[in-house]
């Protein structure tokens, strides 16, 4: 089963081949881990969320310029998919004092997510 064969809500004509990166890798409902990388430079993934797991809530459209590259003038114009990701407060803070259902939402670029 190839879950990337069709972008959500769009039916492709038979025979159409999409470019690498053209469609989002993740779908709403997918379980993901925010990567725990620590590269040097301008990375807009807050450290407190690195390594945490969450659920993809939505693909944010349209794909947006990869600001991590743009910050260095490299590859400006390249667009990447990004997602609204839901993370439970109790996942971020094991001693979170509020109700378990409280949560955090954040936008994360595809390059910072992996399937759990």
């Amino acid at each position: 089963m190839n879950r990337q064969a069709e972008p959500a809500g769009t039916a492709l004509l038979p025979g159409i081949v999409m470019a690498l990166g053209e469609e989002p890798v993740f779908r709403p409902g997918d379980l993901v881990r925010i990567l725990a990388r620590s590269p040097i430079g301008h990375y807009r993934v807050p450290a407190y969320l690195r390594g945490k797991t969450g659920t993809v809530e939505a693909v944010i459209e349209p794909a947006a310029i990869d600001n991590e590259q743009e910050a260095y003038g490299r590859n400006a114009g390249a667009k990447r998919h990004y997602y609204r990701v839901a993370v439970a407060m109790t996942e971020v803070w094991p001693d979170y004092a509020g109700p378990e259902k409280d949560g955090l939402r954040i936008e994360i670029y595809e390059t910072w997510l992996e399937r759990t």
């Binding site: 944010i60 947006a64 509020g98 409280d102 954040i106 936008e107 670029y109």
Partner: protein, 219 residues
């Protein structure tokens, strides 16, 4: 009027020290000035562009966001479009977006309360709300809003019952958020413009609810 306290005329009577630079510029202030002067000197930007951008920001105030909220309260079809694509719905009302940011509008309900923050810096829905309040940029708010949102909200006088879910949206790169507060009880007969006058900046950040109009009985 003349102020006898310090003998100058500027339209108000309270005494104060002359407004001016009181301490030497700090590291970042010097860096900003140097960077700006270099950009102007190299012809990358001109003084007019800087002034124009200040005018753009000055033209954005919470009154715009309040207009959006009031429209959503009275027009279910608009509300649906606003929640589906915040930016497009604001543009529909004549509010332009001068940058590449997207806008996600977060609806408060009887079961969900939304709060917005930018833990990394000061990302804020400037096209619809203007400049953020100073407290929004303080490290204490930015850190605590994601660690203990209920305590922070209580400090704003907003106590959220435990059966209501809190969702904190951390704005970090491309997306800006606007909270669509709940329409207060007792406002059924009010028109759109009067409704807009009830909606405050803080309610659209999610730190307070919209209060019922003064002098009206809330049922």
């Amino acid at each position: 009027m003349t102020d006898p306290e310090h003998g100058h005329q500027h339209g108000h009577a309270h005494p104060h020290a002359p407004i001016g630079q009181e301490s030497p510029p700090g590291y970042y202030e010097i860096m900003e000035t140097a960077f700006r002067e270099l950009l102007v000197e190299r012809g990358m930007i001109g003084p007019d562009e800087i002034r124009r951008q200040i005018e753009v920001l000055d033209s954005r105030t919470p009154a715009l966001g309040a207009k959006v909220v009031a429209r959503a309260w009275v027009d279910a079809e608009f509300r649906r479009r606003l929640l589906a694509d915040g930016r497009a719905a604001c543009e529909e009302l004549g509010i332009s977006f001068y940058d590449d940011t997207r806008l996600i509008v977060l609806e408060n309900t009887a079961t969900v309360h939304n709060l917005i923050v930018c833990t990394l810096c000061s990302c804020y829905p400037r096209p619809v709300l203007g400049l953020p309040p100073d407290w929004y940029k303080l490290k204490a708010y930015r850190a605590r809003a994601v660690v203990e949102p209920r305590v922070v909200l209580a400090e704003f006088g907003t106590v959220i019952p435990d059966d209501v879910e809190i969702r904190v949206s951390d704005s970090t790169a491309m997306v800006r958020y606007l909270v669509l507060p709940r329409r207060p009880d007792g406002t059924e007969g009010m028109d759109e413009e009067s409704l807009a006058s009830l909606v405050t900046r803080d309610a659209m950040i999610g730190v307070v609810p919209v209060a019922a109009p003064a002098g009206r009985m809330v049922q």
